[in-house]
Amino acid sequence: MTMTQPAIDDPNAASLGARDVVKARRKASRQRFAASFRQNRSGMLGLTMLLTFIAVAIAAFFIPASSLDVTQVTADPFLPPSLQWPLGTDDSGRSVLLLVAKGAQISLLVGFAATMLSMFIGTSVGIVSGHYRGMTGGVLDRFTDWFLVIPYLPLAIVLATVLGRSLLNIIIVIGVTSWPGTARLIRAQTMSVTARPYLERSKALGAGNLHQMWKHVLPNVMPLVLANTTLAVSISILSETTLSFLGLGDPTAISWGSILEQGFSAGAISQGAWWYLAAPGICVVLTVLAFNLIGRAFEDILDPRQETA
């Protein structure tokens, strides 16, 4: 690992301290990381797919509201794909292409927001329980265990039923049911970081717990957190799709899951309107796959043991 040395004959050399060294080192390692990622073909494929969907979601802001208003559309329902309607129409005559583009907004938004929530809770719990070995750590660890064991979908259903059907609640439900996996992982990583000698040294130098966790542990578990986050987003998107399909999502929001729910209950299967069900589903698969590929690329880069034996 190369270190960029400060110039010795710099008049301000004395003021360039440890912090700058660390910053420079981290910048170098980030650049290396980016370079490795660029070489990872499946990771780049995933990134491309993701950027495409984000672009679609942004473009969806320009869809006029009247195109998605059932009282204002003029097309016939269940039209198969054609030049005019590239993905056909739904049961009210709205363009499935526009619906799916609009759906990208909510699906991605909920995916990201729920993951942020879940990562926040999971990382905090993981670091704290990994760092404090005693009572606190034990209690948090046990708490994580409990949540880890409870099966995901029944818990989400129960929570969504209690909280009510809204966008915010779906984000809360997914965030609250997904954090234990992250916490476990971060905890294990924290414990291994904590055992490293330099942390012991910093403790000897009088660094407090918070300082240690914030300045040392967190930056070191960050790469793993990053990899885990991308995988967590894919799970969040799948969760939102499932919950919306079961009717637990916000009824006024258009998301890929809610389009599937409408299609299913409007008789798309009987009508043979495969486009109504295929389009949102394929979007979900591609988006989730994108995150999975990116996450696996991160893991490949970060975990040296995965290199070919």
């Binding site: 409990w146 064991v149 099966p151 029944p154 799948l238 499932t242 079961l246 043979g272 034996a309």
Partner: protein, 343 residues
């Protein structure tokens, strides 16, 4: 998988193997942990629904013209001190919340006939997924980078990214309804045709025919995950020193794989199968809904639409209890097969 931080017992080994036997200590510790989790779930289950907004009595009498006497009795029950209510709930957690609102029958009566369809569906799918997924994972992990691995890994990645109910709907369209030249061969739902005696071999075939599509759907989705896990395990095992040594010594690839790497990788994978039962349960819920199979999953979807609170609570408890138990079995099995864990 819990990290064991057991200190080894320092008592002399005794033939009788009593309390000081480390395996027994391990078993007791794991059972205790499972029990504590279950108690947590019980408490969680009880209090969660008490925080639902609105009148708790209304929650239980939705839509029915219940006569005032029953309402009075219900109110007396629900407005008692919470501690007392909790004790009563603990005594009989499944029925302590009253009868199912939607079906007008005790929750156990509603749940009991739905148990076997779910077990059948999930059991068969998990078994098939485990066999195929493990085999697939081993093959692709061992021959990492070769064409078989690349194809199978990419395929399983795509399957792993798929919502299982969507895959189920596509299967329905293609194989049950028929698309283009393919005729719809399979039933569109249900467990069997009414009037069919399912205790006869002909009845079994009828059920199997109805279950073919849903089981296939679930198995394909499950096996994607199992295969990926197994593959990662094998790769990790393969990178281990002892494997390198064995190969360096000239031992045959296959033998190393079968005699050493696989059993060592199999163990964490088998336990991971148990531990992923939560994921399995989720799949069952949505697939039963799509295929109109009257099992626990379907009941859950029905219950959430009311919400039929007593039924929902009982189902949640049942699912959690089953997964906790499966985890306990996994831990014990792991402890039995891997002595490193016990000590």
């Amino acid at each position: 998988m819990a990290l064991l931080t057991e200190t080894p017992a320092r008592t002399p080994s005794s033939a009788a193997g009593g309390w000081s036997n480390p395996s027994v200590r391990y078993a007791i510790k794991r059972t205790g942990a499972a029990l504590s989790t279950f108690i947590f779930v019980l408490i969680f289950n009880f209090f969660l629904f008490r925080i639902l907004p609105g009148d708790p009595v209304a929650l239980y009498t939705r839509g029915r013209n219940v006569d005032p006497e029953s309402i009075r009795a219900l109110e007396a029950k629900l407005h008692r001190p919470i501690g007392q209510q909790f004790l009563e709930y603990v005594k009989n957690p499944f029925t302590g919340n009253g009868p199912s609102v939607k079906y007008n029958a005790s929750v156990w009566e509603v749940i009991a006939p739905a148990l076997w369809p779910t077990l059948l569906l999930v059991g068969t799918a998990t078994l098939i997924a485990t066999i195929v997924g493990v085999w697939l994972g081993i093959r692709s992990g061992w021959s990492r980078g070769e064409r078989f691995d690349v194809v199978s890994t990419n395929t399983t990645l795509v399957l792993y990214s798929m919502p299982e109910f969507w895959f189920g709907m596509i299967m329905l369209i293609v194989f049950a309804v028929g698309i283009g030249p393919i005729p719809g061969m399979f039933p569109t739902g249900g467990l069997s045709d009414p009037g069919v005696n399912t205790s006869t071999p002909a009845g079994w075939l009828n059920v199997a025919w109805h279950l073919f599509l849903p089981v296939t759907t679930l198995a394909v989705i499950y096996l994607a995950e199992y295969s990926l896990i197994m593959r990662a395990s094998i790769i990790e095992e393969r990178g281990q020193d002892y494997v390198q040594t064995a190969r360096a010594k000239g031992l045959m690839d296959k033998m190393v794989r079968r005699e050493h790497a696989v059993p060592n990788a199999l163990l964490p994978t088998m336990t991971l199968v148990f531990l992923n039962l939560g994921f399995v349960v989720g799949g069952a819920i949505t697939i039963e809904y799509v295929y109109s199979i009257h099992g626990l999953g379907s009941l859950t979807v029905d219950a959430l639409q009311g919400p039929d609170v007593p039924l929902l609570q009982a189902l949640f408890l049942l699912f959690s209890g089953a997964v906790i138990f499966a985890n306990l079995v996994a831990d014990l099995l792991y402890g039995y097969f891997d002595p490193r864990v016990r000590t």
